[in-house]
């Protein structure tokens, strides 16, 4: 479908050390009315970035982006609604990876389907990142590792080979499934089920 290939990413981070960030925070429902995938980035974390009058909150780190490509957030990131708009908004804003110590399932899938890499690290490692807010982070997908540049601390993360290859090559699941339509038909014909 066309997202950027992902191999090694070195970038500064924007840190949001809050737990249970749900997809309603990431992109509030009132911004879900457009029927295309583009343009959601400007409304990412809208209610944290703008006050009740719609004025930009200048102290919000998210309004002072210097091209950071990595978002770092507290445990259980992306819980709640299944809206893929959350992943689109994060990607559209400019992030290519999210680091947390825990991701909600649907969000994780949605991110992977859009070339956004969810990197799950230990709580301990996450805290180390929060303690070095100015440091670049290096995410090495082929090696499945993440490193804090400033301190050299490093941790491995998990991703299955199938998904790893998809990201490295910029493929998505749909291409794969379509190539297997015939097997799906054979499966259907073998079944004895009333639908």
């Amino acid at each position: 479908m066309g997202f950027e290939k992902f191999t090694i990413l070195k970038s500064g981070t924007i840190n949001v050390p809050i737990e249970n960030i749900d997809t309603d925070q990431i992109i509030p429902a009132r911004f879900l009315k457009t029927t295309t995938r583009e343009g959601f980035g400007k409304n990412l974390f809208y209610d944290w970035r703008y006050d009740n009058e719609g004025e930009m909150i200048s102290s919000s780190e998210l309004n002072n982006n210097k091209g950071e490509k990595i978002l770092v957030a507290g445990r259980n990131f992306g819980c709640g609604s299944s809206r893929e708009h959350a992943a689109w908004a994060i990607y559209d804003y400019g992030f290519r990876a999210v680091i947390s110590s825990f991701f909600a399932d649907i969000f994780k899938n949605n991110a992977l389907n859009n070339g956004l890499l969810p990197v799950q690290v230990s709580d301990d490692f996450l805290n180390k990142i929060f303690k070095n807010p100015g440091s670049d982070i290096v995410i090495n997908l082929p090696e499945r590792s993440v490193t804090i540049s400033l301190t050299g601390e490093r941790e491995d993360f998990q991703i299955n080979s199938y998904k790893q290859n998809c990201l490295i090559n910029g493929f998505d699941d749909i291409d794969f499934l379509i190539s297997g339509r015939q097997e799906i038909e054979i499966f259907e014909n073998k079944r004895d089920r009333v639908l």
């Binding site: 479908m1 050390p17 809050i18 737990e19 249970n20 749900d22 309603d24 925070q25 509030p28 429902a29 009132r30 879900l32 009315k33 457009t34 029927t35 295309t36 995938r37 209610d47 009740n52 507290g74 445990r75 259980n76 819980c79 709640g80 609604s81 299944s82 809206r83 893929e84 708009h85 992943a87 825990f102 991701f103 909600a104 399932d105 649907i106 899938n109 949605n110 389907n113 859009n114 299955n160 080979s161 199938y162 998904k163 998505d172 699941d173 749909i174 794969f176 499934l177 379509i178 297997g180 339509r181 097997e183 799906i184 499966f187 259907e188 089920r193 009333v194 639908l195």
Partner: protein
């Protein structure tokens, strides 16, 4: 090998497995609505593909729709547009669509079971996290993202990794004034909002088995609020009775054959789970949430807890809600009550609400939105005389839709106001920017609507 019901359904839907990767899982039933489907149709068309199995997808509009004057065109163009897109896409691709005003229209997770489109032993997906609702009939039902909606449209399949499994048993008799919503809020308050992540839940035990289908749906609906992929309950006589003679349910010989198969959908004795939790029904009281995630719940009679480790998220939540640790929640003034959503917008929920307000009056300072989950629920209300009870006690019934559950239409709770809501999410801004949501069941909601303050429904 001993199998759980989940294993049985899963295994019978695997098209093929990929080494160190996911499996191709066949999807029996696919529901779509206007918010998460337009980009999937665009994607499909960009690839020059047709819908692979249009007869297995069903569409409704629910998220954006107004809950008054549904006979008129939708006045907000940003809400109208996605609904029109859905009509256009379903027409072009030969998909059955229940438009606004159609007697089969309603919230997607209410109408699926109501129409008998959801039966048992199926794989069911929808671009909507509360697809877990359909697990109440013994299905692997889960929410997916829009890319996955596109995959199902294109191939009637998904790439999925088998989740872990968790058994949640509830045994014993429920106390007076305690309903299904209280059970699930109680479980989430004990286990937390991420306990289920990576797992599929099975609810079992004598309490669960005694519940009606409506109540079972309320429970499975909120599985996702524990982070679980979904939650299911093995089908039984109560399930079959509910499904029999529903519009799309199998009939005649096909029905007999189906029931025979459904009877096999039980977890084998001694089957393995990755986690098991047990609860006693007697410990459960009418529940309410005080914070900004569904795990922040307690008995209505409890005090708002203290957080032991100065957790930033906890402090932020209480601050948003305007509450302090140690306070009582009983007697707190509220401004709105919302009865509805795919959690509590079914006929039984309205019966429960009416059972409390009957013979009393709505509190003058409370705005109450009663939103049936579907056209069928709406007409059933009138048939049973519940509509009359509600009107004579000062309430008004709106038209079906998601409404204030996510406030994508006009039904928004104003900033800073308190709403006792029978929906499933109390996230910041979920019911409108700055809105303060207290999740509860229909009985607590009814007592608050009468009294204007948080009230223990057992007083009625």
């Amino acid at each position: 090998m001993k199998k759980t019901i989940f294993d049985k359904i899963w295994d019978s839907h695997i098209v093929k497995e990929i080494a160190d990767g996911p499996s191709v899982l066949y999807i029996d039933r696919h529901y779509i609505h206007e918010v998460t489907s337009p980009q999937a149709f665009t994607g499909l068309e960009n690839r020059g593909l047709e819908v692979f199995r249009p007869n297995q997808t069903f569409a409704t509009c629910d998220h954006n729709v107004p809950t008054i004057n549904q006979h008129l065109p939708i006045s907000d163009p940003t809400s109208r547009h996605p609904v029109e897109k859905l009509a256009e896409n379903t027409k072009k691709h030969g998909i059955t669509y229940f438009p606004l005003g159609d007697k089969r229209n309603g919230v997607v997770h209410i109408i699926g079971p109501e129409l008998g489109l959801t039966t048992c032993g199926m794989t069911i997906v929808c671009g909507d996290s509360h697809t877990s609702t359909h697990g109440a009939f013994g299905n692997i039902a889960f929410g997916v993202g829009t890319s996955e909606v596109e995959m199902v449209l294109a191939t009637q399949s998904l790439l999925q990794t088998k989740p872990k499994q968790m058994l949640i048993k509830v045994d014993g008799d429920l106390g007076k004034g305690v309903c299904a919503k209280d059970i699930i809020l109680y479980i989430i308050s004990k286990l937390g909002t991420s306990a289920g992540t990576g797992h599929f839940l099975e609810f079992a035990g004598s309490t669960i088995q005694s519940l009606s289908m409506e109540e079972r749906m309320t429970i499975c609906n909120m599985s996702i609020e524990m982070g679980a992929k979904g939650g299911l309950i093995a089908p039984d006589k109560i399930t079959y009775k509910y499904l029999k003679e529903r519009v799309y349910a199998p009939i005649g010989e096909a029905w007999e054959k189906s029931v025979q198969y459904w009877e096999t959908l039980k977890s084998d004795v001694g089957a393995d789970y990755d986690a098991v939790y047990q609860f006693k029904a007697e410990d459960i009281e009418p529940m309410i949430t005080y914070g900004t995630n569904p795990g922040m719940g307690m008995a209505v009679t409890d005090r708002i807890p203290e957080d032991s480790n100065d957790n930033l998220s906890f402090i932020k939540a209480l601050d948003y809600m305007g509450f302090t640790s140690g306070e009582e929640i009983l007697g707190k003034k509220i401004d709105y009550v919302f009865l509805g959503s795919c959690t509590n917008g079914r006929i039984e929920d309205f019966r429960a609400f009416a059972s409390i307000v009957k013979g009393r009056r709505k509190h003058p300072d409370v705005t109450v939105w009663l939103v049936p989950g579907s056209k069928q629920v709406e007409s059933q209300l009138e048939k049973e005389g519940i509509g009359d009870i509600l009107r004579t006690t000062g309430f008004e019934i709106r038209q079906p839709g998601c409404s204030a559950c996510l406030a994508m239409n006009e039904d928004k709770i104003p900033s800073g106001k308190y709403c006792v809501s029978t929906s499933n999410r109390n996230f910041e801004g979920r019911q409108g920017p700055g809105a303060r949501t207290l999740l509860a069941g229909p009985l607590v909601a009814a007592a608050a609507a009468i009294n204007g303050v948080i009230t223990d429904p057992r007083e009625y």
